[in-house]
């Protein structure tokens, strides 16, 4: 299990303990729910912080996600990893919020459809990667359109499969690669400027 989904690490004892808390929380035990919240809230907040445009949005989204999760806890299938389920709820919630912001969505689609599907020049890409700090990458991510940012966050932060990304974004699975590729293109554009990234291999 990926450490991002279980930020405090997950050995078998932890997993058993988590399942116990989930069962208790399902039965209405506020303490057990508090325990789950303490364990996952930081990771979900960071996820929201990456997915949503502002910190305030992320705070609100985190609160709403946990409200939703608590209400839906009885629907959780304990054969699935809890973290994965939580991320699915969080991703759906954030994407739902972003989709409702129609103005932004409309602005984004026109531009992304024109992005090239070719890969960049490998040498220039390596240079760009070497030059860019994590902070610069995060800033560039913040400037991405909602869908591009969400796709990258789902794939590279939440470690979701292409199937899950497709389900969350409401696109065909075959289109996920295109979305990711275009999102990376846009990210490079922001990081290094369009001219530097022109041309490339197949």
């Amino acid at each position: 299990m990926d450490a991002r989904r279980h930020p405090e690490g997950m050995n078998p004892a932890d997993q058993a303990n988590e399942q116990k808390h989930i069962a208790q929380a399902k039965a209405g035990d506020a303490e057990a729910w508090g325990e789950l919240y303490r364990q996952y809230a930081p990771a979900i907040f960071r996820f929201c912080r990456r997915a949503m445009p502002t910190r305030e949005d992320a705070e609100d989204a985190t609160m709403d996600i946990f409200i939703k999760v608590r209400q839906k806890l009885s629907q959780y299938d304990s054969s699935r990893p809890f973290g994965a389920w939580l991320y699915t709820v969080a991703a759906n919630h954030c994407w739902d919020l972003l989709r409702r912001r129609k103005g932004r969505q409309d602005l984004e689609t026109g531009e992304i459809e024109n992005m090239p599907l070719e890969h960049p020049d490998p040498g220039q890409l390596e240079q760009l990667i070497e030059r860019s700090t994590s902070q610069q990458v995060r800033r560039a991510l913040d400037q991405l359109p909602a869908r591009a940012r969400m796709a990258l966050v789902l794939r590279y932060y939440a470690d979701m499969s292409y199937d899950d990304v497709a389900a969350t974004l409401g696109v065909r699975r075959a289109f996920v690669g295109v979305v990711l590729l275009r999102a990376r293109h846009q990210l490079r554009d922001i990081l290094g400027g369009r001219r530097a990234m022109a041309g490339g291999a197949t």
Binding site: W33, R46, D60, K102, H119, E126, S134, Q135, Y156, Y157
Partner: protein, 530 residues
């Protein structure tokens, strides 16, 4: 494209094999794959680095169970209150409407001060007891289930308050009498305060303290050295009260001497020729016959006033009719604001000319159709301006309150509870506090802005539902509020339904605003509602 899919393990097996062979031979693609892999690592690393701390309001897990308690308490109390209102006030009132004997114009008095509600307080106390016990029971279950926590403490505190109100536990120096009919005979002297309830109460003796009465009929022919605080169907005072009288009653007759002030909310007051008020008379009533003497001021909102007695100080009156008889005397400035021209008999003695402020025809125009529409437009504009102010100056509060508005049931429950408690405190404030009217008015003035702001949040919620949610671009937020408010104000013009809609909006929005205040005040300590 293929390189990324290959790197991420998304190619079909045969295509992946082909790709592996190609990469083995093509240096450019190898370099590209390496670069893409590095890019993926950089992306993951940038995304997962903990560069921002968790906000304080998300850190604490205290209060997780509170909202369910708020739900329970709010709806429990509201259900009990609604049942009580229906069973003890509305239903009997409807049945007794024909016998009420009130003019249709005196609607407020008719609504609040007639019917079974005022025919006896005992049934009401019993209903309160039941409601309190239900709340106590709910709190006790919570207390036994889990260890003591803040929400439970709130539950217990509210229950205890309700119980204290319902049972009215005796103070050490207070005598309590409760019976179908209570009589304090002329020979009896009670040396403490007296709290008394029953269908009828008669005080012929002496109470050396305050008299607090909950009754259908209160008659005082004896002597009360302190104040009288009464909630009664009818009250008649023929004796002597050294302190104040504060009363809510259908009718009050004063045929004796009151040392200090009278504060009266109800339907009719009869101050007979023998009646004396040492201080001032402050009242909100349907009609008053004032034949006795008020040594200081008369301040009142009185539908019909007939003054044939004396007022030592000033008079300020608002109402429909005023008639001053030939025996009428006013020692200070006198002001009357009303619909009709007051009638002043020739023998009346006024220290200064009566100042008259006519409401007259223009007032009636207020309710004409065009005026109503203009009012709605002005109201809409004012609300929108206030909304813009809220969104720009208090964005955090706006967002918190809007989020609470979206919960619908909870804010409506809290709003209803706040209204019931607010009315109770207002009435209590007016009756218990010496300068009660001022405090009561101040209370209303404090509550009014919240009621006004309520529509903004319901409007914003409505706008969001129609146009989709936004939170960032302020113009878009204001646009949604404008749409929501417009719908509310247009719907508000519909007779009856419009009124019901505004009532719902007031309860809903008030609850949301109160919850918003609560969330903001606890922003650093309480994380999430459930």
């Amino acid at each position: 494209m293929a390189c990324l899919l290959y790197l991420e393990g998304q190619l079909e097996r045969p295509r992946a094999r082909e790709m592996a062979l190609h990469v083995g031979e093509c240096a450019t693609c190898r370099t590209l794959l390496h670069a893409l892999e590095s890019e993926s690592r950089v992306l993951t690393s940038a995304l997962t680095e903990e560069n921002e701390s968790m906000p304080a309001r998300l850190l604490s897990t205290r209060g997780w169970s509170m909202p369910s308690w708020v739900w329970t308490l709010a709806f429990g109390a509201f259900a009990a209150g609604a049942y009580w209102l229906w069973a003890d006030t509305v239903d009997p009132w409807l049945q007794q409407l024909s016998n009420a004997g009130f003019g249709g114009t005196d609607f407020v008095s008719l609504l609040f001060f007639s019917g079974a509600f005022w025919e006896g307080w005992s049934p009401m106390i019993e209903v309160l007891q039941i409601a309190a016990l239900v709340v106590v029971g709910i709190a006790a279950i919570g207390l036994l289930r889990r260890r003591f926590r803040r929400p439970t403490a709130i539950g217990v505190m509210m229950s205890a308050m309700a119980l204290a109100l319902a049972l009215a536990q005796p103070a050490a120096a207070t005598e309590i009498r409760r019976d179908e009919s209570v009589l304090v005979p002329a020979t009896e002297v009670i040396h403490t305060d007296l709290i008394v309830s029953g269908t009828s109460v008669r005080i012929d003796g002496t109470v050396e303290g305050d008299l607090i009465a909950f009754t259908g009929m209160l008659i005082v022919t004896g002597h009360v050295t302190g104040d009288i605080l009464a909630f009664a169907g009818q009250m008649r005072m023929e004796g002597t009260v050294d302190g104040n009288i504060r009363v809510m009653s259908h009718t009050v007759a004063i045929d004796g001497a009151v040392g200090k002030n009278i504060t009266y909310i109800g339907n009719s007051l009869d101050l007979t020729e023998k009646g004396q008020v040492g201080g001032s008379l402050i009242s909100v009533i349907g009609e008053a016959d004032l034949d006795g003497h008020i040594h200081r001021d008369l301040l009142g909102i009185i539908g019909r006033t007939h003054l044939d007695g004396g007022i030592g100080g000033q008079m300020w009156l608002r109402g429909r009719n005023l008639a001053i008889g030939s025996k009428g005397e006013i020692g200070g400035p006198a002001t009357f604001r009303g619909l009709r021209q007051p009638v002043v008999a020739s023998g009346a003695k006024l220290a200064s000319p009566l100042r008259i402020e006519r409401q007259g025809e223009s007032r009636r125009m207020m309710f004409s159709g065009i005026r109503l529409v203009v009012n709605e437009i002005v109201g809409f504009g004012a609300a929108l301006l206030l909304a813009v102010l809220l969104v720009t100056v208090l964005p955090g509060f706006f967002r918190a309150t809007l989020r609470e508005t979206g919960r619908i049931g909870l804010p409506i429950g809290v709003g209803a509870l706040a209204l019931v408690i607010g009315i109770f405190l207002l009435v209590l404030g007016i009756l218990l506090i010496f300068v009660g009217v001022g405090v009561g008015v101040a209370g209303v003035l404090g509550y009014a802005p919240i009621l006004y702001v309520a529509q903004i949040f319901v409007g914003a919620w409505l706008g969001n539902k129609i146009l989709g949610e936004v939170s960032d671009p302020t113009i878009a937020v204001v646009g949604r509020i404008a749409l929501g408010l417009l719908i509310l104000h247009v719907a508000g013009l519909i007779p009856v339904l419009g009124g019901l809609m505004w009532l719902t909006v007031a309860l809903w929005g008030t609850g949301a605003v109160l919850l918003g205040f609560y969330r903001m005040s606890r922003a650093e300590a309480v994380p999430l509602p459930a």
